[in-house]
Symmetry: C2
Subunit: 194 residues, 2 copies
């Protein structure tokens, strides 16, 4: 198998697709973000990378708080819109008819229509160049009651969107279950101990 060098490219497949919420100039604003990941388990923490010139960057810097809202496939048009348009120009929550609510934090606006909402307090900020990485401690998680099965979040009902970087720039749904994690690997031979 031969490899082709592509240069220094952010080729992580896939990325999640979330709506990052923050208050800017006293109003809730939401931005689509794919550069997002869990960064710690105990306590639960998440990071979002935001371009330094973005309106959301102002909001997070001012409030030291943000939300991560996970849209479902049905919300792909609104989600993409929130990645194209700046909150400086338009009240995106109004255009998208988001029902905004607040939980524990009074400065991390949440979107009712998104199946999952995480409220985060900023604990670290790193300016990495084009983007700043905001690391947030998750203070509370909200899941829509109709996306639970036996009290657990149900991925079929959440139906999240993934983002595929590159010239195809796709949003994709999740596909079939491939295996159970922390389980299928036990089938591997462990003969080659060193």
């Amino acid at each position: 198998m031969s490899k082709v060098l592509m240069g220094a490219k952010p080729l992580l497949y896939p990325a999640p697709t979330v709506l990052v919420g923050t208050n800017v100039a006293g109003k809730p604003n939401f931005m689509a973000v794919a550069w997002c990941g869990i960064v710690n388990s105990e306590p639960a923490m998440i990071s979002v990378a935001i371009r330094n010139h973005r309106y959301t960057h102002q909001g997070i810097t001012q409030n030291l708080a943000f939300s991560v809202n996970i849209p479902s496939v049905e919300m792909v048009k609104e989600t993409d819109y929130c990645g194209i348009i700046s909150g400086q120009d338009v009240d995106k929550a109004a255009v998208c008819q988001f029902k905004v609510f607040y939980g524990k934090l009074d400065n991390a606006p949440l979107i009712e229509q998104c199946p999952v909402n995480l409220e985060c307090k900023v604990t670290q900020m790193l300016n990495l160049g084009s983007h700043s990485l905001f690391v947030g401690r998750i203070e509370e998680s909200h899941v829509s009651e109709n996306c639970l099965t036996d009290g657990d979040p149900d991925i079929e009902k959440i139906n999240p969107i993934t983002f595929i970087v590159g010239s195809s720039r796709q949003y994709r749904a999740l596909g079939e279950v491939v295996a159970r994690a922390f389980s299928v690997g036990k089938e591997m031979e462990t003969g080659a101990k060193h």
Copy 2:
């Protein structure tokens, strides 16, 4: 729609599934990681969160370098194995029959069978509690020639694995294309300017 409070939980759906490579005690070692994300565009940077007691943590701390290898669905058994077993006990690369190669960096081992390989130099480290977040500048990206179409990485051929956190702990493939990014949102009405 009513919401249910779940406490402070890392409910990001979905997470990617990658194999983080590093040299430990002079040998290549790989660990399955879902807490991973792109953190900067210019320059391209990626972060991986590694539990502080893990063998991989030692390797990255010693080398200040790591690789991110994206396995395809066909490699799910090997991938999961690399999340269950410690490199302290077993030569995982040997058990999994990974063909290991090196690119620009002589201390970031890459897996030939993975369609995408990113070589990274550590630029920041944050100890966040259970995990350390290693931020790496991507020095070079390698893509298997048979995963390209017209010179671009082809997501159908890469066929990556996602990780679903929670009690179901699933690996899932990608599903259908939902929309084109930075495009479908233009269909939204923009009447509600503020």
